[in-house]
């Protein structure tokens, strides 16, 4: 387990991106999604990547998470140089290092909440009882102990996203990456999810990257990076208001009643 993180910037960097370029070819047109991005994220930082649609913010997240390869540039995450990894190596990297959370949750519809959470353990080759025990613990910690055998369609949006977060945490990765995690949720549920991510950063020492275009969401971050047309236009470290990053944040299960079920 990583030591509880600090947001003072003195922690060692866990993510380094150097001169990142990404060029997509659409028909006979070349689109520069990223045009020379340099970014360093210290361990334990909560960073929000903002920008309008097409600014390249999701592309940056996917590059740093090993879901895509840069056209040009170097990426080093948790001591691994992603440029040299093959597809098996990248799968390995993703399994061990990054927990992904998506706007559309991306739960497997045929599996129960428990099985969805335990799915990363399947690909990690973990024994069944170990997997289930761990998945139950995570779901219980997220206030989902009574929803273990529910299928995704039997769960509300907020509950689905909590299942997705539990899944992202399953392999205890040092980095959590979330692409518009509140985009499909109402504002109250969205706040609960953001508090949860904040808690993971503050209390569990996870490094959290959130892509969003919602400035409320960015309010939970230690640092806000703004992208425009594939380049960073602003890199802003912020001091959080007391009570958001301080000890005032509680473990999510205590807030279970607050979460809307709809």
């Amino acid at each position: 387990m990583i030591e509880p993180g600090s947001s003072n910037g003195s922690a060692p960097p866990i993510i380094i991106g150097r001169d990142l370029h990404k060029i997509f070819t659409l028909g006979d047109q070349q689109v520069h999604a990223l045009n020379g991005v340099d970014i360093t994220v210290p361990q334990g930082q909560f960073i929000a990547i903002m920008g309008p649609s097409g600014s390249g913010k999701s592309t940056l997240l996917y590059l740093l998470g090993g879901l895509d390869r840069p056209t040009l540039g170097d990426i080093l995450v948790a001591g691994r140089y992603l440029n040299t990894l093959g597809s098996e190596g990248l799968a390995d990297f993703r399994r061990a290092t990054v927990g992904f959370i998506f706007q559309a949750f991306h739960l497997v519809p045929t599996l129960t909440a428990l099985e969805n959470v335990a799915l990363p353990g399947v690909f990690a080759g973990m024994a069944r009882d170990l997997r289930e025990e761990r998945a139950i613990r995570l779901l219980a910690a997220l206030g989902m102990a009574d929803r273990l055998d529910h299928r995704p369609w039997q769960l509300s949006g907020g509950q689905q996203q909590r299942v997705a977060i539990a899944r992202a945490l399953f392999n205890d990765p040092p980095v959590i990456m979330a692409d518009e995690p509140t985009g499909a949720l109402d504002s109250k549920t969205g706040q609960t999810v953001m508090k949860l991510l904040r808690w993971l950063c503050t209390r569990q020492g996870k490094t959290v990257l959130v892509v969003t275009h919602d400035s409320n969401v960015a309010g939970y971050a230690d640092r806000v990076v703004k992208l425009m047309d594939g380049v960073i236009t602003q890199d802003h470290r912020r001091r959080l208001k007391r009570g958001r990053s301080g000890n005032g944040i509680h473990l999510p299960p205590a807030e279970k009643e607050v979460m809307p079920d709809a």
């Binding site: 996917y62 998470g65 879901l67 895509d68 597809s87 098996e88 799968a91 390995d92 993703r94 399994r95 061990a96 927990g99 992904f100 998506f102 559309a104 991306h106 497997v108 519809p109 045929t110 599996l111 799915l119 990363p120 399947v122 690909f123 990690a124 080759g125 069944r128 899944r167 992202a168 399953f170 392999n171």
Partner: protein, 435 residues
């Protein structure tokens, strides 16, 4: 891990049940076609063999002097004849269990009380009887001097020479239990001399096991001696000719080789064994052809499986991206989809085997109940009358079922390979962004 991936695959199969049923249905039809068509050739072959003769017939080769013209149209000179030397040469062929030379008695009028009849009387070396492929129903399979083994139907066409009227009235005489004698004539002088020889039945041959139903077997020496009397000429070992030579191969696999070796010696060779072995290769070809027809149905089913897998992968592209995002390797994805495809094939195969067994029972029952005449007209192209076949027209050996199951699974796997590889190689970000 494989177990978990297989469980994922099975879960996935439950998603689009109607599609799964239809795709497996295609494999079912293909598998059933392969099984039934191959089973038909197996049934026909076994019926043909059962109809043609006993297993002894399969190793039997008739040797005769080959007077057939050469390929260039000329006639061969010095055709080897069935003499003592020929017997010696035939014994030396590898795979020969016995060489059985035989001599015809020159005359064969039998007299049993008031009735007379004719039959072929063959002289055979009694020590070679075990190689002749014959059984007795009464008496013993031995031959002493003055004895005879009697063909099952040798006494069927006797008649009373003194009976009035023009119509021939055959009378059946039980030669095994009725005393009889052979009437012989010597034509060396102007007036033929008649001689009657008493014959003691040693055994009655079983019907249908050999080509001796209407014949009688006697010791070779007896027959040669009687022939000497008939012709008035003593037998000269140098000029002596056998009337026929039967070669028994050690087993049916070598029968064709032995036949070829006999032809190499310049003799003609034929017989049921030869014929049946050729029949076997005919059925082998037929099996390949009909199996190929079934294979075409299976090939069509393969396209169905490929289509279904491609659709499934299109539908689940984002899920594939998700699985990769949470740590699934290309190999994991490939395994899940290949198992799905293989299961589609296996399910179709299992259903196909089941359906084939039902069809087999139904067809065999129908053929069994078919009146002989309509069977003959309906199955005129068959070398047998199916109604008389006890084993059934459709025979599915266990190996055929297993083969069909494996084939169906392999077809599923093969058809699923390309779509599965494509799924496995999808870049995760592309898969995730797919709408």
């Amino acid at each position: 891990m494989f177990y978990e991936l297989a469980m994922l695959a099975i879960n996935n199969l439950g998603r689009a049940r109607a599609r799964l049923l239809m795709t497996s249905g295609g494999v079912l039809v293909g598998t059933t076609a392969v099984i039934i068509l191959i089973a038909l050739t197996i049934g026909l072959q076994q019926s043909a063999e059962a109809g043609i003769g006993s297993s002894a017939a399969l190793t039997e080769i008739q040797v005769y002097p080959n007077f057939a013209p050469n390929p260039d149209g000329t006639f061969p000179e010095n055709v080897p004849e069935l003499d003592v030397e020929a017997v010696r040469l035939l014994w030396q062929i590898p795979g020969v269990a016995a060489v059985i030379p035989m001599v015809n008695l020159q005359g064969g009028e039998l007299v049993a009380g008031d009735y007379t009849g004719y039959t072929q009387i063959l002289g055979i070396d009694p020590t070679l009887l075990p190689y002749l492929g014959v059984q007795v129903t009464q008496g013993q399979l031995t031959l002493e001097r003055g004895q005879a083994l009697i063909g099952a139907h040798a006494g069927d066409y006797f008649n009373d020479p003194e009976s009035s009227g023009d119509t021939y009235q055959p009378v059946q005489v039980d030669l095994f239990n009725t005393p009889f004698e052979v009437k012989l004539y010597q034509y060396t002088s102007a007036t033929p001399t008649e001689r009657r020889v008493d014959i003691i039945p040693a055994g009655l041959l079983q019907e249908g096991t050999s080509s001796y139903d209407y014949a009688m077997l006697m010791p070779l020496e007896d027959v040669i001696r009687l022939n000497e009397w008939i012709t008035g000429q003593p037998v000269d070992a140098k000029n002596f000719r056998y009337d026929q030579i039967l070669v028994r191969a050690t087993d049916r696999e070598v029968t064709l080789d032995v036949s070829a070796a006999i032809r190499d010696l310049g003799f003609g060779a034929g017989g049921m064994g030869d014929f049946l072995n050729q029949l076997n290769s005919f059925f082998g070809t037929m099996r390949l052809m009909l199996g190929g027809v079934g294979g075409v149905a299976l090939l069509v089913a393969a396209f169905g499986v490929a289509n279904t897998m491609t659709m499934a992968i299109l539908e689940r592209t984002r899920e594939i991206g998700l699985m990769k995002a949470i740590g699934a390797s290309d190999r994991d994805i490939l395994t899940v989809f290949l198992i799905e495809a293989g299961l589609v094939g296996l399910a179709g195969g299992l259903a196909g085997v089941g359906l084939s067994m039902l069809l087999r029972d139904a067809i065999n029952q129908a053929v069994m109940n078919m009146p002989a005449e309509s069977a003959a007209s309906g199955f005129l192209f068959l070398p047998i009358a199916p109604g008389q076949v006890s084993g059934g027209l459709i025979i599915i050996p266990p190996e055929l079922s297993v083969f069909a199951l494996v084939l169906a699974t392999v077809v599923g796997l093969g058809a699923g390979l390309y779509p599965s590889l494509r799924a496995a190689r999808l870049p995760p970000v592309v898969a995730l962004k797919m709408e």
